[in-house]
């Protein structure tokens, strides 16, 4: 293998290749590291849904390990209370909290310091963060300070027979998957993108154990200052990941004009629209419409993929959909390997017919006319 600098990409295993051969005894200083932590991301007063998704996943890991699940909340006094309550509602056994007005809005310096101090003090074996801009900014700093392993954008997390975290993620630009371990360092850190894991059920539960910790910084210690925040005007941008119905198009649509057909069907169904990566690379649609490993991950009730071949990097972004419908002229396209319903057809002809069919079925105007 000639890779010299590929972050987190496959690299040669030690001679012999088996994990037993690679694994040394966990160093003594890491043996006291126990339990599973989820960093709870608060964005302007709201807990980011990815944190709940991670609590759901962390619960499964903790149960397999016979360990406890903790939510880790950093924020301003008055802002952390709701987040702490939500940790328990989503299955945490305890919460670690740093409440300080310095933490009212995200900045790398105080958040990295606070989280690193918590890890050094309470020693978790697994630490999960959302792969959002905030989570990635923070995770990269904290893992480097702790000199431990960090696996980005995991699509699957599991605990293997000897209690190590097995973190699976796409590699080589999304053409293959790989499973990565952090064998001899703790904590084992991983980030997961929003919507990759299922949203667990919320259950009203009393607030349990809360361990508070102090930040130990004053505002003057922090160099970076927040001057302002400009909210996005186009609120729909953020909705694609959480839409119940999504229609997306790929290069198979042949021309940028044909995305009107995708948007038309999405509108008729009351859903949102997106596209595959090559469509963004061609400049047909902006990057925020991209669905897949390097774009948005979606978990809609219905996903219609029109003229999308189904490369792995796209697949990992849509596999959580309840129902995947594929329309493609190539009956051997990989998308038919993971779609639930498939049809070999030209999407450019079928999409307008579907839009019309939806209208015929559901529009009150059409129905009235038919009834009359």
């Amino acid at each position: 293998m000639t890779e010299t600098s590929q972050p987190n990409a496959p690299k040669p295993a030690a001679a012999g290749g088996s994990r037993a051969a690679m694994k040394k005894e966990l160093p003594e200083r890491f043996k006291s590291y126990k339990h599973v932590w989820v960093f709870i991301e608060i964005e302007r007063g709201q807990v980011h849904p990815v944190s709940f998704e991670l609590l759901g996943e962390g619960r499964k890991l903790a149960d397999k390990l016979g360990a406890e699940l903790a939510g880790v909340v950093l924020g301003a006094p008055g802002g952390v209370e709701t987040a702490v309550a939500e940790c328990f509602a989503y299955g945490a056994d305890l919460a670690y909290v740093i409440a300080d007005s310095i933490l009212a809005n995200y900045r790398n310096e105080p958040f990295a310091r606070g989280l690193t101090n918590l890890v050094d003090t309470y020693k978790p074996e697994i630490l999960l963060l959302g792969a959002t801009n905030l989570g990635r900014d923070l995770a990269g700093s904290v893992a480097t300070t702790l000199l431990t392993g960090l696996t980005a954008d995991c699509t699957e997390l599991d605990v293997d027979a000897d209690a190590s975290l097995a973190a699976t993620r796409p590699t080589f630009g999304g053409s293959l998957l790989c499973t990565i371990y952090t064998l001899n360092y703790r904590p084992q850190m991983a980030t997961v993108r929003p919507r990759v894991m299922a949203m667990p059920e919320r259950q009203e539960r009393p607030i349990g154990r809360v361990i508070t910790h102090s930040l130990g910084l004053v505002e003057d210690d922090i160099v970076t200052k927040i001057l302002g925040f400009l909210p996005d005007r186009d609120a729909t941008k953020a909705n694609l990941a959480y839409a119940d119905i999504v229609v997306a198009g790929g290069l198979g649509l042949g021309a940028v004009e044909n995305f009107q057909l995708v948007k038309g069907l999405a509108r008729a169904l009351g859903g949102d629209y997106g596209c595959s990566r090559p469509v963004v690379q061609k400049g047909w649609l902006p990057a925020e419409r991209q669905i897949g490993q390097t774009g948005k991950t979606i978990r809609p009730k219905l996903y219609i993929a029109a003229g999308i071949s189904g490369a792995i990097q796209h697949r990992v972004g849509v596999e959580g959909a309840d129902l995947i419908v594929a329309i493609n002229t190539d009956r051997n396209a990989p998308i038919f390997d993971f779609a639930h319903i498939g049809i070999v057809a030209d999407a450019v002809r079928l999409l307008p017919a579907l839009t019309e069919g939806v209208t015929r079925r559901f529009s009150p105007h059409t129905r009235d006319r038919l009834a009359g």
Binding site: T2, T4, S5, Q6, P7, N8, A9, K11, P12, A13, R19, E43, R44, Y106, N108, A112, T132, N133, L134, G140, A143, T144, G149, L150, A152, D153, F172, G173, G174, S175, L176, L177, C178, T179, I180, V223, I226, G228, F229, I245, R267, A268, G270, G271, K301, I312, L323, V325, F336, F338, I341, G342, I343, V344, L350, P352, A353, V358, R361, P364
Partner: protein, 283 residues
Amino acid sequence: MHIVVCIKQVPDSAQIRVHPVTNTIMRQGVPTIINPYDLFAIEEALRLRDAHGGSVTLVSMGPPNAEDTLRKALAFGADRAVLLTDRYFAGSDTLATSFALASAIAKIGATYGAPDIVFTGKQTIDGDTAQVGPGIAKRLGLLQLTYVSRIASVDPEARLIEVERRAEGGIQQLRTQLPCLVTMLEGSNTIRRGTMADALKAARAQVVIWTAAEAGIEELTKCGLRGSPTVVKRVFAPGSRAEKARMIDPGTSARDTADALLDAIFAAQGALEADVAAAQASL
């Protein structure tokens, strides 16, 4: 100002193919390119140099042939390029990569002047981790500004920088002190076409090539496979779903085909009918 830009040579992912039988990457003949996200970092560095004077140094860690990539990047108008290449770096994960690059940047600082700003792209298109930038910042003790969509101002005298940073639901406006590390967001600028003079200069330029020892790295245990806490156990292609897709037969007209498909969709997801009816009513 002295500005350092970290770049990476990556395989052109659009042309990566997976062997259908062995599930391994077929590397032969896959062309390499400058990581596309790095172009935004290069352009921003050149703009700051043009506005404030000084120089831009490119640095990359990679195989010996990454020299070509650095030379191509020099043609945009950077002043010098350093390639960090050594078998000790083979198998580096993000932690080991950030160690090697931070060491090289420290050596670059000692040789050509301490950098005021270190730039990286948002992430690479092969690893896609976005971890190396923050790793370098932490190791060099630099303040870190990630996902920067715009540099509003730089004041080299007052040692201040103001940026706009992409956050969830909006743009965060931040001010911090130099030196710092900035990761640039895609679309934040458009890479210039280098001048003919820059192209000629790049063709003649000597890319500085450092081994680990020449970069001043003594702790080889922090490099490459040995310096990487993560271990890749398995590389694989996902299998097909156990249950094959239910294929709908196309009808004689697009209308019949559409109706058959909608019947199948709502038979599987009947609960959606009310939602769609509501959406139709609101149109």
